[in-house]
Symmetry: C2
Subunit: 110 residues, 2 copies
DNA sequence: TAATTATTTCTACAAATCAGAACATTATAA
DNA sequence: TTATAATGTTCTGATTTGTAGAAATAATTA
């Protein structure tokens, strides 16, 4: 590992950030992951991954408005960067190609 | 990690085993991963992952013919089990759903 | 000011992945 | 018979990725 690959959870979180645009922040990412992917993780895992994704330049972040009608810290909102999108796209297209081969070779399992 | 998720490399190797049916064994898996996925890994990583996948019942293995026209130990051939195929399918369909949402929300990045 | 709420940050550990080396096995070549 | 080539296995140790809980922070409400 030379820090260039996207881990399993990293990819999922990145994808979720994209699917939640433009209101992606840790708690809703956690919720979405649980609901859509059956993937239960604690909040701090989401944050850890988000930080790593930001270091890899696959997401960028900014703080939300400071006067919402609620208590609590400001939301930290995340967005997928063009680099992040490319990374996702590249993974998907390659995986899809392998899927195509597999379905062709083992049509009985479909 | 509670040992129940399919890691990034585990998924790729599993998919590659399927796409190479019925001649999937470590060296060609390594080659295929490098060529189709730009994913360079050393042989021992493939073995490690294959062993884990077999423990998870996502692949099964048998030894190849003992009289091939080549030197070396017998090939250990791997196949995706129905459970393995289901795991791949489940991941794919969930990820594709997130992809759909993302493309809808950020069509500018396409 | 204190309590409550929502979220982020810190810290530490576990699991997955990576890399290289030593060794075993089988067939062919010398 | 010995050497060589082509596998495959196993081990050891390092790095990256994933997990979990506690602590800290910032905003609102009492």
């Amino acid at each position: 590992m030379r820090g260039e690959n996207l881990g399993e959870l990293e990819e999922l979180v990145l994808l979720t950030v994209g699917s939640l645009y433009p209101e992606a922040y840790a708690p809703v990412i956690k919720k979405e992951l649980a609901e859509k992917m059956d993937r239960k993780v604690v909040m701090s895992s989401i944050h850890t991954v988000l930080t790593r994704l930001e270091n890899k330049q696959f997401v960028c972040s900014r703080f939300g408005d400071s006067t919402p009608e609620r208590g609590g810290k400001r939301k930290r909102l995340f967005e997928v960067t063009p680099e992040g999108f490319k990374a996702l796209e590249s993974l998907k297209s390659k995986r899809d190609a392998l899927w195509g081969n597999m379905l062709q070779l083992m049509p009985n399992l479909q």
